[in-house]
């Protein structure tokens, strides 16, 4: 399918597609239906360096930009896979890279680049505070050369398939800070050490086959040297990573969008009802054409966000808009694809119901649509703050 993507990255895409083709739809279907983590697929992506695209060369990565990283995410989803199993690493390593100390970078980044260490998890969301992140209740209190963590997180993904996790916790109680965004810090948690030693997890069965968990901290001890950056500035560090995260998510949505449209157009050309292909009916054509237009428009915004990010320019507006446009477009494409397939779209073996559920997530996580609109309204249009 022809797309608006610049052709500069065809070489990367060709190699990625060749790899992804080794993991056809039935591989992903099988793993998703049994809730098994696609270990071999993630290992292959890691072995060939794709998940280390953004790690600088001095730490063993390829030193590429957000543009290329987003292409990796897009191609995974476009091939029928689900980047949700591995995208955490792309965002999380950026946090470590930007705010970690030189010792931390030397300690972790080469291992992450080689695949010996996985940094796939980030623990922000809490059950009682949700999107109102600054009210989070998990605390990390300094005691000598350690921090003692207590509290609870929810929806923390990939913990069982990661070695490291970035944790956001309050280090200064809310009443004692001037601004609510202050007094939170981020830490690197060594998951193998933590599990059973002050940290327990309880997996959440869910609609999208994510390995995601409730997490309970009961006096978990973290060495003080695992604090990233300065104490109290953790929320800002997390916000710093959000533009990259949103843009990468947009690329995943766009990959999904193309996948749905490719499946739908193929089926619409082949399925004969009333003695002609269903795709000959404009009632079938137009929803697909509309979805294609919207995926393409989102794609342009996504590449603009990437371009700005890679040039070191402000890209908050573009990253947020790309995420919104792309999540809406992939959902529209998913719906049109399901409709085009009629009853067959509901059969597992067509993969559409699976991808349909997977792409629905992007309306909610990692950031819900309303919160993006609120960003646009307040930060770009200058409307009064609502919360």
């Amino acid at each position: 399918m022809q797309t608006s993507a610049p052709s500069d990255h065809d070489e990367l895409r060709d190699a990625l597609r060749a790899l992804c083709q080794e993991f056809p739809s039935d591989y992903h279907r099988e793993h998703a239906s049994k809730d098994i983590y696609p270990e071999d697929f993630i290992n292959a992506l890691t072995r060939d360096g794709w998940l280390a695209a953004m790690i600088p060369e001095e730490y063993g990565g390829s030193g590429l930009g957000l543009t290329e990283a987003s292409i990796v995410m897009e191609e995974i989803n476009r091939s029928g896979g689900n980047a949700g199993h591995c995208h955490g690493q792309m965002y999380n390593m950026g946090t470590l890279l930007r705010h970690g100390s030189e010792e931390q970078k030397r300690a972790y980044l080469p291992g992450i680049a080689s695949g010996d260490l996985r940094l796939q998890s980030m623990a922000v969301t809490e059950p009682t505070t949700g999107t109102d992140t600054t009210k989070l209740k998990t605390t990390a209190m300094r005691k000598g050369d350690r921090y003692i963590v207590n509290g609870q997180k929810v929806w923390i993904s990939r913990i069982q398939h990661s070695d490291l996790m970035i944790l956001l916790a309050r280090t200064t109680p809310l009443p004692e800070v001037k601004r609510k965004s202050e007094g939170m810090s981020i830490f690197i948690v060594d998951l193998k050490d933590a599990l059973g030693n002050g940290m327990e997890i309880s997996p959440i069965k869910n609609m999208v086959g994510h390995e995601t968990n409730e997490v309970f901290f009961d006096n978990l001890e973290i060495p003080a040297e695992n604090l990233i950056g300065e104490e109290g500035k953790g929320f800002r560090y997390i916000l710093d990573g959000l533009n990259a995260e949103r843009t990468l998510i947009a690329a995943e949505c766009i990959g999904d969008g193309y996948w749905f449209l490719e499946r739908a157009t193929q089926y619409a050309n082949e399925r004969i009802v009333f003695d002609r292909p269903i795709g000959q009916n404009q009632g079938v054509q137009f929803p697909l054409a509309k979805a294609y237009v919207n995926v393409e428009a989102a794609n342009l915004m996504r590449f603009e966000a990437c371009r700005r990010f890679d040039a070191g320019e402000a890209c908050g507006a573009q990253a947020n808009m790309a995420k919104l446009l792309a999540a809406d477009a992939s959902w529209e494409a998913a719906n049109a694809c399901l409709q085009t397939h009629g009853g067959f779209g509901f059969a597992e073996e067509y993969d559409i119901e699976r991808k349909f559920k997977e792409t629905r997530l992007y309306q909610v996580a990692p950031i819900s649509t309303n919160l993006i609109l609120s960003y646009v309204a307040e930060h770009i249009l200058g409307l009064p703050r609502s919360f």
Binding site: L12, A15, A53
Partner: protein, 250 residues
């Protein structure tokens, strides 16, 4: 030893070929181009020879327009060491390619030249054979298994009705067949490394070759559309139709 691998830029095998309206050729504008799949097999073999310590250097050479550099980069990303682009914008026919490759081989002195058995665009299947004749080197064509010794190579050839195993003295020209190996796809670090590997650009004139075509294409046409089939009731009717209508049996 050095291994020389010619690689050709062709329309990607996934692309549905369209004939140009004026019937002078096939449409290549805005069409995805890739390395000829048989040449990928040749590159893979050369890289495996290097990994096994049988080759010191793998050189990928392409004859074609500026964009054929991309094809060379693909070979470099698979593990070739350096590239040579013999830049030429027009059509090049197998004989001209063979002459150019002869000049490159004489300059480089490879122990073996690994070609794809044919290119999927013109399916000519001539270059390796012509090259071997021009160089006066032995040839092993349609190779599905290759063992390289110090001064000779043992090649298994796919021939009608079976496999033939031959020994050829080195240096030799081999053309590789589909079943020789399964080419790897490039990893990201290797794609990045390939960007830094050298590619030399030459012209056919630098090598003393005039690539002007000697053949004239009269017409390129779409194959006739497939006719709908018919159902036959029994073997007797099938035989009758094959004999009387299709006239394929006597």
């Amino acid at each position: 030893m050095k291994v020389l691998v010619p690689v050709k830029r062709v329309v990607d095998y996934n692309v549905k070929i369209r004939v140009k309206a004026d019937q002078t050729g096939v449409e290549t504008a805005n069409v995805k181009m890739s390395m000829n799949p048989f040449d990928e097999i040749a590159v893979e073999q050369a890289v495996r020879m290097k990994e096994a310590g049988q080759a010191e250097e793998v050189i990928a050479v392409s004859i074609g327009p500026q964009q054929a550099q991309e094809t060379i980069r693909t070979a470099l990303a698979m593990g070739a060491d350096r590239g040579i682009l013999v830049q030429h914008d027009g059509e090049v026919e197998p004989l001209a390619v063979a002459k150019i490759l002869k000049a490159v081989a004489e300059a480089e002195g490879p122990g073996v030249i690994l070609c794809g058995k044919q290119a999927i665009d013109d399916d000519a299947n001539q270059t390796a054979q012509m090259l071997s004749a021009l160089l006066g080197w032995p040839q092993a064509t349609f190779v599905s298994k290759l063992e390289i010794g110090s001064d000779e190579a043992t090649a298994t050839r796919e021939v009608d009705g079976g496999l033939e195993t031959i020994k050829v003295k080195l240096p030799a020209v081999c053309s590789v067949d589909l079943r020789l190996n399964e080419p790897r796809y490039a990893s990201l670090p290797n794609i990045m490394k390939a960007k830094k590997k050298p590619i030399d650009t030459k012209s056919p004139a630098d090598l003393g070759v005039d690539p002007a075509p000697r053949l004239t294409t009269v017409k390129v046409a779409e194959p006739p559309p497939r006719q709908a089939g018919v159902k036959v009731a029994d073997v007797a009717e099938l035989v009758a139709k094959l004999r009387d209508e299709a006239k394929v049996i006597g």
